[in-house]
Symmetry: C2
């Protein structure tokens, strides 16, 4: 399969150069970029007046939580979790997760996300949905051990089951990673064990760390150190770890994270909506940490729109430290693309020859994207997910001119509604 | 002209009740709401599975600044103003303002705004654009006097010219109001004069107040009181005043504003992007002040999307005071609709019999708006302007199924691009 994208305006390379050029895709790679390419291709797309951008990499979500979108908002975190989210999650069935994941996959394709990192339950069902959808994914079973050895073993067995399921799919674009939930739900012994397993099986790890102030205070009371220090002490943090949130970090934590090479997946919408706090972006960047962008689950966002997330990130940090120069458009665009790729050691997140063909075409022929002075500014500050016209992952067109090709959109919308209503009535 | 909207899900009345009903529009009013209406109508719209919402009321913008969208971002306020905005504004021609306004009007129609309040230059040109577009508007010439009597007189003459121009149009939906720029650019004597003129001609007033910390400090150094106290002392504040921003307010300021009946037009995106600060929403609401919502100009936003603005407002205040219960979905929805109508004493901002037919239809048949558990939550936290399918103002359909009917969209996009490029090369 080959695709020729003609006459587009490309966001080229790591430095986000804006160039007019054609782009040729063979199999799953971008193989040529240049003016007036004459390659014959299976599909030719005219991108005249349109922007060809790397697809977005959403480094932290819980895809099947689309089923809980709008179920509970504007509540204290513990009330939200204990009264609304956890009781409903306890009633989840495998098939719910399948349909919730498919709905989420549909939303991601329609808003230009090409790769995501997930932590949830019944992850083989999410893997099935990802397989059908055509997206690239890193999937983890969320392990909650609570210092209970037997529970810990069961969680690891489930992780292995998912790992095996994913490996049997034999698709490079669907990957397994370990997902211990958080230092406040997993003991240091358990986390050490997970670290050893990740080393042994050469898998990545993702974990929630320091999302709320209370959680950090509790860990400090229990262990006499911060969650990050605790993780550091047991040798948990390496460059294969994606830390979700990292809101309440002290100076020492930031140094540790930067030195370890671990990535912080920043979730501005969720941190704002749940009133968790503001991640210290300036300090993390200053220390050289890798910061990527993410939406978190739709119960606390409530969408998966990475374009919206970029604007939120830029605006939040500016007002938080009263400095309009921080989190400039290019910085947050990189967080949403190449920094996510760096976290995953993925040959994507940029438009260049040899990179994976994970890219999107954005339609700028709209009033809110005119006049065109600055492409990156428009994408970060004025566009939204609905402006994405075409989504290509691994060299395959998943959406063309807003029409999803990989599966039946209407059926997913209807079925997800049905499943959600059934779930809420249980 | 009559319109029958069948089978819609209505956001009904001040309390935002969600009801399934038909809605009948005669001339410029909603005349009937009920199940199975049999009225014969010039146009019948099937809104099955769709949401019928009051249109949004954007209470502070500078419409023609669409021409400067993305020209300068991520800069210190004074650098932004002095090096980028003001030198360009100095080169503006009347026809630039016309095309910039038309581009802005197009964007508002496409994102569900039905009424807006504007302050800028060459406002007769904006009035022309508003006339063509079909929107409802309150237009002011931004008067900057700087304590210079002669300059003050010229500004008032220009305001009168605009007032006369607007009144000659003879359209109820296009209104004039006075627009003294700010207490730091207009002397107390000048502001007193404007107050008298507003009383005499029975016009409203809009003014920037306490947007930045520096501005408040300067006024305090000069007058020994806050900008709000200064305005109060000269009898400026009444319930016909719309204060843009109100970011840096002390306790006394908040009491004064609430007591006066003046409205604060809140601009979260602009206040965040320019790092101006966070308006004290909790305190203003507690004191009973009327707070409406606004986008400000697109040079500091960078769009006019009130759906995005609602989410920003909700999220900003939650994280700022670390309380997820503040700025709940209904509160910000009201800010974007009925509170704006209250500010303008306009019989709109709600769906009810007898109200002006200023309403929109939102398409919920999209992955990011499914499953449907809570309509207001979806509108505030998950929707964006592109989900607006139909826009009706003053009983006229301006957009149907995303197609703008009142003027030629393509022509405006092209012309605005041309005008902006010419402006930047001057």
């Amino acid at each position: 399969m080959s695709i020729l994208i003609k006459n587009g305006t490309l966001i080229y390379g790591e430095n986000l150069e804006i160039i007019k050029a054609d782009l040729f895709i063979e199999e799953n790679k971008i193989t040529k970029i240049g003016k007036g390419l004459k390659e014959s291709a299976d599909v030719v797309i005219d991108a005249n007046g349109k922007i060809v951008s790397p697809g977005f990499i959403n480094t932290h979500t819980h895809l099947a939580m689309t089923l809980f979108r709008g179920v509970a908002d504007d509540l204290e975190l513990m009330e939200w979790l204990q009264k609304h989210i956890w009781p409903r999650e306890a009633k989840l069935k495998a098939s719910d997760v399948y349909w919730g994941s498919l709905l989420g996959a549909l939303e991601m394709i329609k808003t230009g996300t090409t790769t995501f990192v997930d932590m949830y339950f019944f992850m083989d069902e999410t893997a099935k949905a990802v397989k059908e959808s055509g997206l690239r994914a890193y999937l983890s079973h969320g392990m909650i051990e609570l210092g209970d050895k037997e529970k810990g073993e069961k969680e690891i067995m489930e992780a292995f089951r998912v790992m095996e399921f994913v490996e049997k799919l034999g698709l490079e674009r669907i990957n397994f990673l370990f997902g211990p939930h958080a230092p406040y739900t997993c003991s240091p012994e358990f986390l050490k064990r997970v670290r050893e397993l990740a080393d042994k099986y050469k898998k990545m790890i993702t974990i929630h760390v320091s999302e709320t102030k209370t959680e950090v205070e509790n860990i400090k009371a229990q262990y006499g150190k911060s969650p990050v220090e605790l993780l550091d002490e047991i040798g948990f943090l390496k460059d294969d770890v994606i830390i979700a949130h990292g809101v309440w970090l002290n100076e020492r934590d930031i140094e540790i994270i930067a030195k370890s090479g671990a990535t912080i997946a920043h979730n501005p919408a969720s941190n704002m909506k749940l009133a968790s706090g503001v991640m210290p972006l300036r300090e993390l960047l200053k220390e050289g940490a890798n910061v990527s962008l993410a939406t978190d689950g739709t119960a606390s966002n409530n969408n998966l729109d990475m374009l919206e997330e970029m604007k939120l990130a830029a605006l939040l940090h500016k007002v938080h430290i009263l400095d309009p120069t921080i989190a400039d458009a290019s910085t947050v665009f990189k967080m949403a693309t190449q920094n996510g790729a760096k976290a995953l050691k993925l040959n994507a997140g940029v438009i260049r020859e040899g990179a994976l063909a994970d890219l999107i075409i954005i339609d700028f022929n709209k009033p809110h994207l005119r006049p065109i002075h600055n492409v990156i500014s428009h994408i970060v500050y004025s566009a939204n997910g609905s402006d994405v016209e075409t989504t290509i992952v691994d060299g395959k067109i998943l959406m063309l001119d807003r029409e999803v090709l990989s599966f039946d959109e209407e059926r997913v919308l209807d079925k997800a509604q049905e499943v959600a209503e059934d779930l809420l009535s249980r």
